[in-house]
């Protein structure tokens, strides 16, 4: 039987609070978090996650290298002790370090470093129903150890398996109630790719329109990829 978990009628996807929008998140889940440096981080959802009774989470994100800011960041979430592991190309600021580095140094946090473009392509494969991709990135380095290799166009390519998660925390400037989304400049970053690669996708948005409020030509992430919406303030 086909199951349709969300009612896509008006307001069907709009949740009253961050906590409500994260309902169902469980111990040991893997969570994608969009954002690039300080840009496009779903702060309200991260804060809501920090207040939920859950632990042993694995986060997949670009990094947590924000320094000295009033934002609620991945580092703040790590400080709550709910995070077991981070998979990221750049988990902490190379110079300033911060809370993520401290947690890793004290043995309370596991880190897995993945090259940024490899992470993007593994997530895209996961979201597009592709089992894996052969990439030239990392060939001949420690990232290629124990992985299958093939020659293509005379160059070594490394098999990287698809990556999917239980939840994705996203951020957009504008959505309609169906879940079509538009971003502002570089806050787009990981959102469109991560929106495809998780079982439940939750997006924090500044404005929600009725259907028809966004020109279909301008939609970047389509409603089919978005399960839940919450307003950012």
């Amino acid at each position: 039987m086909i199951s349709v978990p969300d009612n896509p009628s008006t307001n069907g996807k709009l949740y009253p609070s961050g906590k409500d929008a994260l309902e169902g998140i469980s111990i040991g889940d893997t969570v994608l978090v969009a954002g690039f440096a300080r840009c496009g981080i779903p702060q309200k959802l991260l804060q809501a996650l920090s207040e939920i009774e859950v632990s042993e989470l694995t986060l997949i994100c670009q990094g947590a290298w924000v320094q000295e800011s009033t934002d609620f960041t991945i580092a703040d979430l790590v400080a709550t002790g709910k995070i077991k592991k981070i998979i990221s190309p750049m988990p902490f600021h190379p110079v300033y370090g911060g809370l993520v580095k401290k947690a890793w140094e004290s043995g309370n946090l596991e880190l897995e470093i993945v090259p940024q473009g490899v992470l993007a392509e593994r997530l895209r494969a996961g979201g597009a129903g592709i089992g894996g991709v052969f990439l030239p990135s990392g060939a001949g380095t420690r990232f290629a150890e124990d992985k299958e290799k093939r020659l293509y166009d005379g160059r070594e390519h490394v098999l990287e398996f698809a990556l999917k998660a239980d939840y994705a925390l996203l951020r957009a400037e504008v959505a309609d109630t169906l879940g079509n989304m538009v971003y502002q400049a570089t806050s787009r970053n990981w959102n469109p790719t991560m929106a495809m690669a998780a079982g439940v996708t939750v997006a924090e948005v500044d404005t929600v329109h009725e259907p028809g409020g966004i020109d279909p030509e301008l939609v970047i992430t389509q409603a089919i990829f978005i399960d839940r919406l919450v307003l950012s303030d």
Partner: protein, 225 residues
Amino acid sequence: MESLADKERLPRDIVAMRVAKELPDGSYVNLGIGIPTMVSSFVPEGRTVFYHSESGILNCGPLAEEGNEDIDLINAGGQYLQIIDGMSFFDSAEAFAMIRGGHVDVTVLGSHQVSATGDLANWMLPQRGVGNVGGAMDLATGASGVIVAMEHTDRNGEPKIVQECTFPLTGKGCVYLIVTDLAVIECDGHGLTLKEVAPGWTPEEVQQLTGAILAISPDVKEFEL
């Protein structure tokens, strides 16, 4: 006798200026952090270069003026930018497709080490235990060519140009030009050729501070800016 360690070397902006000369008119270029970032200030007059950023921008412009920062508009180093005509935005997967697919013409990166065969080791110092790899692996493999801009020796005076890299590799055989505060060195994948030296330096002195054998070009000359 004056020690080579104390002898005057070129400042970072001159290194950046020399790299800028290498960027073809109309090319798409990705600049890494450090000396590479400075390169955009020195592109020769009459040439247009389009900058790509992993944060999801083509045609990056100047940094935002203080007080006019837009939190949603940043480069790969997290600095705020101005919006300019002809700019376009895209997501992270597309940003790396542009790099990996060879659409970005030149990448300029800093490095910890470069080997005689053009191997690049710039993402991790082994003693740190963990490295921030970022997009370096993809930039090294994908861009049609990597120019390395760096100091000729490290903080302890050890050569950064070596026969074989001892630090974890970023990419194999991907570097085609090295510009340092002492020299311009070409790399053809098999060996290194010294093309230019800093004012006041001899090829032999540069060789003394280099951990790999340099072939000295018959027309080796002083840095040309």
